[in-house]
Symmetry: C2
Subunit: 255 residues, 2 copies
Amino acid sequence: MRNLRLLLSYDGADFAGWQVQPGRATVQGSLASAIGRLTGENVLPQSSGRTDAGVHALAQVATFATESPIPPENWLNALNGILPASIRVLEVTEAAPEFHARKSARAKTYRYRIHRAAICPPFLARYVWHYPYPLEESAMVAAAGVVVGKHDFTSFAAVDPERVERMADPENLHTSNVRKIFSSNWAREGEELIYTVRGSGFLHHMVRNLVGTFLQIGKGTVSLEDLRGILDARARSAAGPTAPARGLYLVEVEY
Amino acid sequence: MRNLRLLLSYDGADFAGWQVQPGRATVQGSLASAIGRLTGENVLPQSSGRTDAGVHALAQVATFATESPIPPENWLNALNGILPASIRVLEVTEAAPEFHARKSARAKTYRYRIHRAAICPPFLARYVWHYPYPLEESAMVAAAGVVVGKHDFTSFAAVDPERVERMADPENLHTSNVRKIFSSNWAREGEELIYTVRGSGFLHHMVRNLVGTFLQIGKGTVSLEDLRGILDARARSAAGPTAPARGLYLVEVEY
């Protein structure tokens, strides 16, 4: 049995997220069906983490087990020939049997794009959060650094049954909401205000909840001091709203 | 009665084209319904020309008649507040009563994007034609110039009832298939091969049929001399296939 590793990019706009769901278009479901067409095997690829509906990936990593003798380079062309154009396989490599896309991950990088122009070009509508209202961007730049380091991110974690279920999952590496953030920053690129965050792992909705809270700092309704208090509160109700999925990109998974 | 002029950009991927059709999402229908919601008036905006399903616009021009006293700048925000994010109004101006988006047009510019990389980024799938196979691009560059000038473009016009109907339209300025092309060129921009054409007017499918024929020249199945013969043949069957709609953009309308 081989363990094949895929590097994937997808436009999340038309998918109900990564995870397979009956009757809905998902990235995992599309991959499973493409693999099934090629080999007749019934496998469910496992990724570095589930992305939500509308969230994009520049470089998601997934693995699947197969008995097929097809060489990796042929897998690439064959899968891209079957998959919808909104999912592309960028690389296929042979992985060690013990390699696990989620458990072996050492760091992940996410990016969040906010479009600041008065009118958002229609071609970006699926790919950014359009926020044309005043923001003190320098305050957001300063606030980004506050979350660097090891923190309990409960205030930024979605309160949902899915998370509780994952916490109870004996295979879950993380038994707490403590995560380590290696870098966190906001930068301007033309009309876009872009947040980039690299960390050991992320709780469900964590990046979108951080962005929503940074935005409150930009609006002046939350201060830098408040942000420290929000972290300490360890309560979702302390933090800001969840930013829309369409601005979020999984950029890199490191092993 | 005022004559308001709109400058519009739209992502054509989710629309069944410009022209209103019962039960289908169209650009004209979306605009008519937004205007109706604002003024209660039942108007159908008229554009510089119908774009087909999947064709995009960076700067389409349309007009509509209204008795509403709303100033132009308020129209812009109000329409963008109602329209889907895939249609944006870029400008609203007061036009002279005799201004007509189609009949007053003196020149139009279209662009066609071909993506040449082996793998097309999923975020471009709706916006380019992915053609990763070998092409003699220099031959296409040379061929582009052949169509400059005044020609009968019957070989590049869609043979469809809609065109025949338009030809029979007494309001139609063009009673023949002769059009003047001011400039026509192919250029490389990174992974993209881009065709830009500016002319007095264009027949239905004309740009996509030109692109399909230029591609045959790039493949070496049609020569530069053949292209002259195809123009002279004045028969759709002489030219190449129609390139997909998703790579085509209406870039500018000049008055």
